[in-house]
């Protein structure tokens, strides 16, 4: 059973949506790519210093992004999470709903399965509606994207907004790109240089 609010949604593709996101990022926006295929596709869609690739910590893309958003309120921060990851940390939606950082955009790539471990179905395959959950947590600007163009429209709105937006998309089960270069200290260093919080001595 598919939630009524998503019944008409076509299946989109994560890499395509991620590429559309990256193409819109022209102001050094920070992007947090969640564990697994979300950061693989971010890596594939376009490497940039302001990207942070999570090699573990399932469920924490949104909290990490919230931390960055609080630290740099003038920088747009985008977080990309999967349905399985978000289900592990639903409470973070309540925290973001409480704090309402002006500069945070939350993306949920919902394929209804734990894809990387063998595509076991998640609760979103059986009725859980992550947009309804987010709205209930105090994030009224939470919406399903109906197709890639609608996703871009919602993204344009979110990137200009003065409150957090969550955009969820039903996606297919195509495998992710990547994998990301598994060098956590380099990932963190590059990210901090991209955010201007780390520089080489003498610069």
């Amino acid at each position: 059973m598919t939630p009524a609010s998503t019944a008409d949604n076509a299946r989109m593709n994560r890499l395509d949506l991620t590429a559309r996101l990256v193409a819109k990022l022209t102001h050094e926006e920070a992007v947090i790519g969640g564990i697994g295929n979300n950061n693989f596709d971010l890596w594939t869609a376009g490497r940039r210093p302001q990207n942070f690739y999570m090699l573990g910590s399932m469920g924490l893309a949104f909290p990490i992004a919230l931390g960055v958003a609080l630290a740099q309120p003038k920088r747009r921060v985008v977080a990309i999470e999967g349905d399985g990851s978000l289900l592990m940390q639903l409470g973070c939606l309540a925290t973001i709903g409480m704090l309402k950082p002006a500069n945070l955009t939350l993306l949920v790539m919902d394929n209804g399965c734990y894809q990387i471990t063998g595509s076991q179905p998640t609760a979103t395959r059986h009725g859980t509606d992550l947009v309804a959950v987010a709205r209930g947590c105090g994030l009224p600007d939470s919406r399903w994207a109906s197709d890639p163009d609608h996703f871009e429209t919602l993204l344009d709105e979110a990137l200009r907004a003065d409150r957090p937006h969550l955009i969820a998309a039903k996606i297919d089960d195509a495998p992710g790109g990547g994998p990301t270069d598994r060098d956590p200290s380099w990932i963190r260093d590059s990210f901090m240089r991209g955010l201007g919080t780390r520089r080489t001595a003498g610069q």
Binding site: G56, L66, A71, G196
Partner: protein
């Protein structure tokens, strides 16, 4: 406000620790009230300790220093995020953990989980200090923060009931 929490606030300010993400408990209450009331800090509760760790790691990368406040039982839930985020990415995650489960504990579950805290910190290779005496408090907190930041390594400060218990507040130590 208690003597120990006032000292902690002073040291946090001295080290420019402005973000405080917490999962509250009774012992931490005076410290939480103090940071909530002080405009220097951005302080807020999170729904669980793991979430607070993610937020503080993200904020540090963004240039805002922070600390997580939690209880022993909460620390028991954050092994994975420390092992997969703070340690490998070399992020100086600061944790202040109110120790419950020892010196008079009545709840067996708390007593058991307390016994796992220091072994877990040791296994993860995390610098940790127990805050038991007021006369050592400023030095311990200040130096632990300084080292965590300078070495880009997580550190834990454990608030012992020897320091925080109401019956101990008039003690000279």
């Amino acid at each position: 406000m208690t003597r120990w929490s006032q000292t902690v606030v002073d040291v946090l300010k001295r080290n420019d620790i402005r973000l405080v993400a917490y999962v509250p408990d009774k012992v931490l209450s005076p410290l939480i009230r103090a940071v909530e009331a002080d405009g220097f800090f951005t302080a807020f509760p999170t729904t669980r300790e793991e979430e607070a760790v993610g937020i503080v790691c993200g904020s540090w990368m963004g240039g805002l220093r922070g600390i997580v406040l939690m209880q022993t039982s909460g620390f028991a839930t954050v092994g994975n995020v420390i092992a997969s985020l703070a340690v490998p990415y070399q992020i100086p995650l600061l944790m202040m953990i109110s120790e419950r489960g020892t010196l008079g504990e009545f709840n067996l579950g708390q007593a058991i989980v307390c016994r796992t805290m220091r072994p877990q910190l040791e296994t993860l290779g995390i610098e940790h200090h127990t805050l038991a005496r007021f006369d050592e408090l400023d030095f311990q907190v200040d130096r632990t923060i300084a080292q965590a930041i300078a070495t880009q390594a997580p550190a834990a400060l454990i608030l012992s009931p020897l320091l925080t218990h109401p019956s101990r507040q008039d003690s000279a130590s």
